[in-house]
């Protein structure tokens, strides 16, 4: 698995396949990226569970915080890790104790732990590192194009009505990879230095 550049097909399958997402490191502070992503994904219809031991007893947009993945009372499809790279491995270890296992481990923009990824992949999970699911969702549905961002997709079909809770439109032709390989290469160089 090449973790420097993911195909759109891979990301699209994950975002279309998962229904419940536990977000480890979710913050109730409304200017934190985790809050942005949590709210956005909840509005797109995902069953979001905020995981943060510092906020147990409170809730995030109506969803009660839990202290750890093991405290979640239902199967979860994806664990999204909003922690620095050095804190990722323990979360993955915990995720691999869940029964049933989650299908996906997703590490937020800036987060990367190749050993943790290898461990999760060995257990049959899909892994995404150093990406934001909000950005990827917005990109693949072209919603992010409103901000002048290169969605790296094309479509000659009428766009879906942009309403809250819209689902990913699958009919876009992917143009990913090569067209922004400069940014992928830069990310790899930064990871090599880190």
């Amino acid at each position: 698995m090449n973790h420097d550049a993911y195909s759109d097909t891979y990301i699209r399958e994950i975002l279309n396949g998962v229904k419940s997402i536990a977000m480890v490191g979710a913050s109730p502070v409304n200017v934190r990226p985790s809050y942005f992503a949590f709210k956005y994904l909840a509005q797109r219809g995902y069953d979001m569970i905020p995981v943060n031991p510092g906020h147990v007893g409170k809730s995030l947009l109506g969803k009660p915080f839990v202290a750890s993945l093991l405290d979640i009372d239902r199967p979860i499809d994806m664990v999204e890790i909003f922690r620095n790279s050095s804190h990722i491995m323990p979360v993955v270890d915990e995720a691999l104790k869940l029964m049933p296992l989650p299908k996906v481990i997703w590490m937020q923009l800036g987060g990367r732990d190749d050993a943790a990824a290898a461990k999760a992949e060995a257990a049959g999970l899909k892994v995404v590192m150093n990406r934001c699911p909000k950005i990827e969702y917005g990109r693949l549905s072209s919603e992010i194009s409103w901000m002048g961002v290169n969605s790296r997709t094309l479509s000659s079909k009428r766009a879906p009505m942009p309403v809250q809770g819209m689902r990913l439109s699958l009919n876009r032709m992917s143009v990913s990879g090569g067209e922004t390989n400069a940014s992928d290469r830069a990310a790899k160089n930064r990871n090599d230095l880190a």
Partner: protein, 426 residues
Amino acid sequence: MTDRLPGFSTLAVHAGAQPDPTTGARATPIYQTTSFVFNDADHAASLFGLQAFGNIYTRITNPTTSVLEERVAALEGGTAALATASGHAAQVVVFQMLLQPGDEFIAARKLYGGSINQFTHAFKSFGWNVVWADPDDIGSFERAVTPRTKAIFIESIANPGGSVTDIEAISAVARNAGVPLIVDNTLATPYLIRPIDHGADVVVHSLTKFLGGHGNSLGGIIVDAGTFDWSKDNKYPMLSEPRPEYHGIKIQETFGNFAFAIACRVLGLRDLGPALSPFNAFLILTGIETLPLRMQKHCENAKAIAEWLSAHPAVASVNYAGLSGDKYNNVARKYAPKGAGAVFTFTLKDGYDAGVNLVSNLKLFSHLANVGDTRSLVIHPASTTHSQLDDAAKIKSGAAPDVVRLSIGIEDKEDLIADLEQALSV
């Protein structure tokens, strides 16, 4: 579905555009509106807090303009783009993101005269200090680096002389200095040169020129390559530090590899105000659809005319990188194998007066201060675009008093040559 990479011409027609969700309109509609309704109070708050993607006000985003932005980002191989009212506005926004008062940036001495003026005079009042370097002497860039250097700025094909810049060599200097390389790609367009492929971190354009291509609309754009780490050493607080304008958001942390374009939009364009008109965005978008076809014709005509001028007895010299034997021909072959552009200069044996006569005797070429039109254009830079420079600076920037600049259009080249021939023989 496999991930397939479409070609440049397909992107020029399709990137960013999709049939309108409400009407099915296939051409991109002109959303000539100042403002956009919110779904509810929470939606409004989410948009203002940068938590949701969407439109608030045309000074910040507009659905017609965003199609243009995505299209140019795709053509340049960048992660995102931000359109502005002009190329000059794009440069102000870029440098406002990067420089604090007292900071420096290094710029190639061979630049569009308007940029030289902007950097020398207007930027001075902001406390932004330009340090000039010679694009033919890479060492001059290295020697110009100081602890206050925040960026390096060059043109891929330099105006007015049409010289081609060694982008990779200068990008290495920028990388060693830990600063971004900004490339003005106006004269090349991404059809001829894609600076990001050669190490540029930011690309700017005057869309007014070849991209719009029809001489009818001003516009500028900033393309984010997604390559630069703005948070590495706190040199770029607009991107790395909590922004009080947005309750403490850190732009790069939140927006990753398109953070520069977002910062230019939500800090630069929002507060400085030089937004592009949606109508201009529409005209420029329409122009871009034929960019590959037009650039082929522009380059073919330019080469033929440069060759014809080289053999004319009244002509002293022709500076066109597409001519074999030109000083920049090898660099041009490397960076712009499809053609060396359509803007170049030449000098007449009888000097300044012969240049003035030529300009006044031409019947098809238009005497005006623009380049990159469908029409062929002519100007005498020393008395116009570069007139504010002193003689030494004119010569260094390629605009000596005997220089005439041409921007070759897409007319029949035989007619253009005939016009030059009659004007030179009067």
